[in-house]
């Protein structure tokens, strides 16, 4: 942890700020809600890493999606993601957002979340232990340092692809495109 190195702060304040002040928006879909309270409270204390939960997507820059994603939830995940200010980082938590998990043949869940919004990192497991959130956060720090946590840039560049996938599942979307679609 290089939080106390003043030279780094002076060199790239934006990057260091994004690293050590991750305001997390927890999107607890079904499972995973039980792993989050121990993470943020006295047992595992996420606040010492600068990770605190916030209540609205406007204030957040870390998006944690825990558990399976049904088609109905996907609509609100996309809306929450698009409301977050850039730079924003997304982490899928549990095996269901990765490849469907135990819901792989369900008719109303989606299988690959990264087709619909860009994901910067995954935490595998069903369910992962709360410590896995911290492993994810430290990995995310490395990615931010190397400039590889660029999901929001990918979303901007390939918006047409993501929008097409979203419309395939949800039908016509009632909100206008976030970025202009190049034809």
């Amino acid at each position: 942890m290089d939080r106390n190195k003043i030279g780094k702060w002076l060199k790239s304040p934006g990057k260091m700020g994004q690293k050590y002040s991750l305001h997390a928006l927890y999107f607890c879909t079904g499972c995973g809600i039980i792993e989050i309270p121990p993470t943020i409270t006295a047992r595992w204390d996420a606040e010492r890493f600068g990770v605190i939960p916030v209540a609205t997507p406007r204030q957040a820059n870390l998006f944690l999606i825990t558990g399976y994603v049904s088609v109905k939830t996907l609509r609100y995940i996309i809306r929450s993601y698009e409301q977050m200010p850039e730079p924003k980082f997304t982490v899928g938590f549990g095996s269901c957002p990765i490849n469907g998990g135990m819901y792989w043949d369900s008719y109303n869940t989606i299988k690959h979340l990264d087709k619909y919004i860009p994901i910067d990192g995954w935490i595998a497991g069903c369910m992962p232990r709360p410590e896995a959130v911290f492993i994810a956060v430290t990995h995310l720090w490395t990615l931010i340092d190397k400039g590889m946590a660029n999901g929001y840039k990918k979303y901007r560049d390939n918006y047409q692809y993501y929008r097409k996938n979203q419309e395939q599942v949800l039908g016509k979307l009632e909100w206008p495109p976030l970025f202009s679609i190049k034809n």
Binding site: R3, N4, W9, P13, G14, M16, G17, Q18, Y20, S21, H23, T41, A42, D45, E47, R48, G50, I52, P53, V54, A55, T56, R58, Q59, N61, Q83, M84, P85, E86, P87
Partner: protein, 296 residues
Amino acid sequence: MVVTILEIILTIFLAGIIGLFFLGLSRKVMARMHWRYGPPITQPLIDIIKLFNQTNISHGVLFNFGIIFSLAGSIVVLLFIPLGKICPLSSSGGLLVILYLMLIGPLGLALSAGEASNPNASIGISRKFLLAMSYEIPLLLILLTVMTHYKTISIVEIVNTQLQTGWSFKYLPLIFSGIAYILILPAILGVRPFEMVQAPQEISSGPLAEYSGKYLALVTIQHAFNVFIGISLFTNLFLGGAENPGYLFLKMLGVFIIILLVNAVFPRFRIEQAIGYLWKLPTLLAFIGLIVVLVT
């Protein structure tokens, strides 16, 4: 002239540093009381640096204007409160001006949050104004008592008198008012028993629901100034002020730790419970204090 400008800059700078330190300290102390390690004490500063490096989502002209208005109101109140010997605008106004200007902070925030037209923000604003209405009445009575007792509206004179006679909190005429101020101080600062304005769990941080980027950073800075104003007013009026900023800071730290202990222990009031509380005990005490001052 140059000295005044330098003093203004120094006051704003010191107040910002002390306010942000208090915000960080509150998070650290709360964490230690939960038996957690807690964030570093500079965490609010880190948050502000991050927020200035984000994209900013504005919701209209009034949204931007309201934040500036609120921040400017807080800064102006700041200049009327003596910080040790540093008090740039002490010769004009005094307590009366502070009374008028203290409402500008919440007003500006309401103006700007209303422009965002989020339903949670509207609930938060209505709670904020109800809370302001309920703590302003005891605050008015307290300030009236202090002004009547010292027969002046200038805080600098009050501080100078206390340097000779000792803390006014210790002696009979003003002890009721001092206790009443301590009882309403959590409501002025917006900490836990009176945290219903920004209740993140029920109305998703209320007026701040639509703030992001530099707007949230400015609101955080305004909150830091607000914390500084509430505590330093108490310290100057009842704990004898101080001759230099360092000593004033130590006194403020003591008051703030007491407020933090209250913050750590109590759950959140509902808004009508808060009004009921603020209009009963603190108002009664402030009223008794006024009568005692008038009789003696």
